[in-house]
């Protein structure tokens, strides 16, 4: 099954990239606030049970995909 893991910096963790993009958008006149930049990880995970596949993706997050000091993730089975 297709799985999408979205990794974001935790609230409160400074995101200088997001800040820079926000300022760039302000430069074009867009009204925008709290721009945060994250990472999307798409993958194929064997299995047919969404709950089971999601559990596997969660284990991957804990082992490698997410650094819990600074990041949090949300998992979507597509």
């Amino acid at each position: 099954m297709k799985v999408r893991v979205s990794v974001q910096l935790k609230p409160g963790i400074l995101d200088p990239q997001g800040k820079a993009v926000e300022q760039g958008l302000h430069g074009f006149g867009f009204e925008v606030d709290h721009v945060r930049i994250g990472r999307l990880i798409d993958m194929d995970v064997p299995g047919t049970d969404p709950a089971e596949v999601k559990a596997k993706a969660l284990a991957m997050c804990e082992k490698l995909l997410v650094n819990p000091v600074m990041e949090k993730a949300s998992i979507e089975v597509l």
Partner: protein
């Protein structure tokens, strides 16, 4: 004294580490390819060098932390063996959970290469025992991700247990946000684990040890290690 220097694809300070430990200090210093599963026998110190291991993919140090050699580095640390991680080496030790915290992008978003001053916060470590209380030394930094970050509660714990080994400071030793090049919390440049045998730092002491190449502000760390081993 035997030093092992793990070498990952993308390491680029491994030869600085080999030069400082081998040529300058005269220690038996051995490069160890990341695919090896065991450190050389009787390794006293593991020097995890700087660079861009695995191209900094995913997060700096995240993939290197999973390399086969790191399992033995962990065993070495668990036995009380000394581990020094510099720059990317520090990031690898954090990702391997040998040290707490994480290194984020510099506040300025820029790669910074400059000389900095560090104040010694712990004088009782094998890495600092030849230094004096509050001693200030000058070493270079060269990194884009050196912004040390920790959960606020864990930061309080780290400070309370004396986990901070080095802090960025003015040449006079004064500390404060103005002297922190990368936005690191509390101006933290280097930390040690609870047992005091694993140290990670962003600045490069190994690049400031040879008078033929420039200033030698980093020698204090290596003299301390020499002293620690002479006594051991």
């Amino acid at each position: 004294m035997r030093v092992a220097v793990p070498v990952f694809p993308g390491s680029n300070c491994d030869h600085d580490a080999l030069h400082a430990c081998g040529t300058v200090m005269g220690w038996d210093t051995i490069p160890v390819w990341h695919q090896e599963t065991h450190l050389p026998e009787n390794t006293d110190l593991v020097f995890v060098p700087g660079g861009f291991s695995y191209g900094d993919y995913l997060r700096c140090g995240a993939i290197a932390a999973l390399a086969p050699i790191m399992a033995d580095v962990k065993r070495h640390a668990d036995r009380g063996g000394l581990v020094l991680g510099v720059c990317n080496g520090f990031q690898i030790l954090c990702e391997a959970q040998l040290l707490p915290g994480a290194l984020l992008r510099n506040e300025s978003l820029r790669f910074i290469h400059t000389d900095v001053h560090l104040r010694v916060e712990r004088m009782d470590l094998p890495f600092t025992r030849a230094m004096k209380a509050g001693e200030v030394f000058q070493v270079p930094i060269a990194h884009a991700e050196g912004n040390f970050t920790l959960d606020p509660a864990d930061l309080v714990d780290l400070e309370a247990r004396g986990g901070v080994a080095f802090r960025y400071c003015a040449p006079t030793g004064e500390i404060g946000a103005a002297h922190v090049p990368n936005g690191a919390m509390n101006g933290i440049a280097g930390i040690v684990n609870l047992q005091g045998n694993v140290l990670g730092m962003m600045p490069h002491p190994e690049r400031a040890v040879d008078p033929k190449l420039g200033p030698t502000g980093g020698l204090g760390v290596f003299r301390s290690l020499a002293e620690a081993f002479a006594k051991a």
